[in-house]
Amino acid sequence: MGGYIMTEQVPLLRVKNLTKIFGGVTAVSNMDFDLPEGNLLGVIGPNGSGKTTLVNLITGFVKPTAGRIEFRGKEITGWPPYKVVGEGISRTFQMVRPFYQLPAFKNLIVPLYSPRVKKLAGGKYGNRDAVALDLLEEVGFERDAYVSYKKAGALPQGYLKRLELAKSMALRPDLIILDELFSGLSLAEVASIVPIIEKLKTKGKTIIMIEHRLKELFRIADRVMVLNYGRKIAEGRAAEVMESPDVKEAYLGSEGE
């Protein structure tokens, strides 16, 4: 169990004995982990190992069967999503969920409208359109290009993923959970998004990334956690984790990568 960063203060996120059972199938069982502030935790595991359910549990989209989630020492187990966001946790969806009928930048109006943003902005909303366009530029939409004004339904996947990222960033969160942000993106697109995440990290944001793209993930992750059948089978630094025979068998198959 090496590789822990020993700190005295409370971790940003603490998950204890988290369990979720769906119609007889245990999706997440007895999950335990701590996430110190400013860390980037990578979560990997085969399909159906409970990664997305874990995200849904933390963000309140699914209520846990048992267990406890603490954020900054405050218990948030079973809170509805909007309250969890209010505490400073935001997420992206694996299957993007934009408002297809709205122009790309208008998509960001909705998160910018949230009470959290209002509180952080000192009670003033200001010109949301301008903020939205700035955010889009931050995630790689070209400034003043037509693409920001296009209907989200007409955007290619790469832009939709960026939009999804921008939507979670708009909430000014302390913890961002990225659910398979890179899935369905080409290498070039992934390469252009990685710096955005690195920049978030240098700004002191805590990030959980769920990924299949190990190469990119290992480059930026501080720690990696491996799930299989709803259980944590390994946790630690990337290199150490990948040495574990359990992980090799469960995840990479015989060949490895």
Binding site: N47, P156, Q157, G184, A188, E189, H212, Y251, G253, E255
Partner: protein, 248 residues
């Protein structure tokens, strides 16, 4: 076996496929490689005839106008305007992207449904073959498909396409969202399929790495246009392909 000539597809004013042409010989595995929204799914929908159905539905709804120009020839016969169900009868079966399964039915029912146009004895036979190909599905026989993991669903989806007894199997992004182990498993399965039954496969992918080694011929498509063609190894050695799809 399959020939596509000057295919152009418009979604209202947006051009999804521009002057696209390709050719598939019997027994080949052909790859269509391209990044997101390059037109791969549109191509697959056009080949399987789904686009005809989409056009009718959009028209009824007064939505986007879909226009298709060009020709699709299957065994020398023009099938550009043939309905999807007729195409399945002729042996063109598409496995759509993102795990196309029936979530509320169990695995064996899913396989039965896929064999709608085939005889019962044929279904029984192919279902057995599918279980041979994907032994992981056997213990899941009576599990509701919606409760299975993405990888299991994708196996099932490919299995369902096989039950429809294709001569030409179209796989639309079969590796999307799968873990490396699942990807290996599927690629192996497709290779085995080709070796065993000599089926013709068109596979569309955005990840060139796992696909290129197994294809006989590949088309690289960008923004709806054909940019490169060549055999699998030719493409793998091509510096541009390397730069774009291998990140080297």
């Amino acid at each position: 076996m399959l020939e596509v000539q000057n295919l152009m597809v418009f979604f209202e004013n947006a051009l999804a496929l521009n002057d696209f042409g390709m050719e598939v010989r019997e027994g080949q595995v052909v790859g269509v490689i391209g990044s997101n929204s390059a037109g791969k799914t549109t191509l697959m929908n056009t080949l399987s005839g789904l686009i005809i159905d989409m056009r009718i539905k959009e028209k009824r709804r007064g939505g986007e106008r879909i226009t298709v120009y060009g020709k699709v020839l299957f065994k020398g016969e023009d099938i550009t305007k043939t309905r999807p169900s007729e195409r399945v009868k002729k042996g063109i079966v598409l496995c759509r992207e993102r795990h196309p399964i029936f979530p509320e039915s169990d695995v064996s029912q899913n396989l039965q449904m896929a064999g709608y146009l085939r005889k019962r004895s044929e279904i029984r036979e192919t279902v057995k073959e599918v279980f041979d190909l994907f032994p992981a599905l056997i213990p899941l026989k009576s599990r509701k498909a919606g409760f299975m993991s993405g990888g299991e669903q994708q196996m099932l989806a490919v299995g369902m396409a096989l039950v429809a007894r294709p001569q030409l199997l179209l796989l639309d992004e079969p590796l999307l969202g799968l873990s490396p182990m699942m990807q290996h498993l599927l690629v192996d399965a497709i290779k085995g399929l080709k070796a065993k039954s000599g089926i013709t496969v068109v596979i569309s992918e955005q990840f060139a790495r796992p696909v290129l080694p197994m294809i006989d011929f590949g088309y690289i498509i960008e923004n709806g246009m054909l940019t490169l063609t060549g055999t699998g190894s030719e493409l793998m050695d091509n510096p541009e392909v390397k730069a774009a799809y291998f990140g080297i």
